[in-house]
Every structure is written in structure tokens, then in C-alpha cells.
Symmetry: C2
């Protein structure tokens, strides 16, 4: 790998680390009380299994992303990192999709099932969840780019080079 | 690739094709009317955006899986298939996760958001959705195996061979 490529690669990994970290922080700190005396309810991410899964998956990937930043460029472990990248990208996609599906119901509701939207009652909570999902989405995109870059440089699937 | 490996590979692809096809058919035919005169409601997959996404994603992968079955073993396109496999695996994982998240709410409800479970009213619909999700899950597992097999044979990430 050339020096420019290496810096670009490291910058992408750093961005991905920042994106997963901020999605965890924003989602984990999201909570809002709503209702009138004496009936309060508190909207928190722990009330929704899909959001818990999102926080756990993004935390795991944050820790992984942190350690990969310090891997020496010549290490043989980089081949293993390609496989791990793939595993963690799948984990991120899965957690992102499930959180997005639930957030969509929270925003729009589902008339047929009788599920009412809750964003009208807890707008601050909704905004924070949206922010976490945007950060998570950025992380997913960066990891997909990293995975396809690895695949491309090893496999040349578009047959651009001569074989 | 040896002959045994090729047959095994083709069998896996055929299984994946069958799994995505059956998940589409089972999900698309799931519907049940419920309620008492004069208020009927019909549970259908088109009422839930996540289930529509599931059907579309699995249909796309079914068509792809069908054509790959007829690709000649010596074709150079197999390198491109590795990248396409990865794309479609991500699509399947994403659609599976969002459908699962919604199905979970349909089964268990979410007390905090005031979303009631609907499976008590439309048990036949719920069973059919569960069947579709199981077939979809099998397809996801097979595609993940195919992707990691390709990665393994090209990259050797566990460094089993001598370099």
C-alpha cells in the first residue's frame, strides 16, 4: 500500500470509529419523560429491544475499531481484519436495519396493527434517536466501503486488471 | 475446484435459491381476516413496510440465485459473483433484521410505547410470517457461508496455509 492510500485508509477507519462511538453515546443518553401528573412515562432506549441491540452492536464495533487503529501496517493480522471487517459490517447492518424499522413505527405508527406513533409525545427523544441512527448509518457506509475496497484489491471482481 | 467441492457449492446455492423462493411465497400469501361484524380488518404483509422490504429483497435475491445456478464453472464472472454475493447477503441481512424487529413487536408488543401484540387476533397470519422468517434466516446463513468460503479460499485470513 502506498503512503497516501494508507493515510486515506486510516482516516476512514478513524471516521468509522468516531461514527460508531457517537451513535452509541447519542442513543444511550436519549431519554425523555412525558405525560401529565400523576401518569408519567419515560422513553429510553432500554425499553426497545431493537435499540438495545443497536447500542450493543455499535459498542462492540467501536472497541474493535479502536484496536484496529493501532495495528502496525506490516502485520499479517490485516488478512484476518478483512474477515473481521466483514463480520462486523454484517452486525452493523443488522442492528441498523432493526433499529430503523422500529424507529419508523415510532415516527409513523402502523394503522393496521393499531400502533400509534410516539414521536408527538417525546419529540426530544425522537430527535436523539434519529441522530444516533444517522451516525450509525454513516458507520455502516464507511465499513461497506472498507470491505469492498479489500475485496476489490484482492479479487479484482470487475476484471480491471489483466489476469 | 474439485468435483466434490463444485457439487457441494452448487447444492448450497440451490438450497439458498429454494429458501429465498419459499420465504417470498410464504410471506406473500400470508393474510388473515379478523374482527367481528361489522369491523373487519385484514392482516397482510403489504400493511407493514418492513415485510414489503423483506419480500422485495428476497425476490431480488431469488432471481439472482436462479441465474447464478446456470453460470458455467470456468466463467470469469465467478469473481464478480463473489462481490454480488456480498451485496445480496447484506441486502438479505438488512431485510431479515427489519422484518424480525417488526415481527417481534407483533408477537410481544411494546408496553412502553403502547403497542399491543397482534398475534392473538391473527394467529394464522403470525404463523405464516414466522415460517417466512425461518426460511429467510436459512437463506441468510447459506449466503454468509458462501461469502466466507469465497473469502477464505482467496484470502486465507486464518493463515492456515504457508505464505
Amino acid at each position: 500500500m502506498g503512503k497516501a492510500k494508507r493515510i486515506c485508509h486510516l482516516a476512514l477507519r478513524f471516521l468509522a470509529f468516531g461514527a460508531t462511538l457517537s451513535s452509541v453515546i447519542v442513543m444511550a443518553t436519549s431519554h425523555q419523560r412525558a405525560g401529565f401528573f400523576p401518569v408519567y412515562f419515560e422513553a429510553k432506549y432500554t425499553n426497545t429491544p431493537a435499540f438495545k441491540y443497536f447500542v450493543i452492536a455499535n459498542s462492540v464495533v467501536t472497541v474493535y475499531g479502536f484496536f484496529v487503529l493501532f495495528l502496525p501496517p506490516k502485520s499479517l493480522l490485516w488478512r484476518f481484519v478483512v474477515a473481521l471487517d466483514l463480520v462486523f459490517t454484517m452486525l452493523l447492518i443488522s442492528s441498523m436495519s432493526s433499529a430503523l424499522a422500529i424507529a419508523y413505527v415510532g415516527k409513523k405508527g402502523n394503522n393496521y396493527a393499531g400502533w400509534l406513533p410516539i414521536c408527538g409525545q417525546v419529540p426530544k427523544y425522537c430527535d436523539q434517536v434519529t441522530g444516533a441512527l444517522i451516525a450509525g448509518f454513516a458507520a455502516v457506509i464507511i465499513y461497506i466501503v472498507l470491505v469492498f475496497y479489500s475485496i476489490h484489491s484482492v479479487l479484482d471482481p470487475l476484471l480491471l486488471r489483466k489476469t
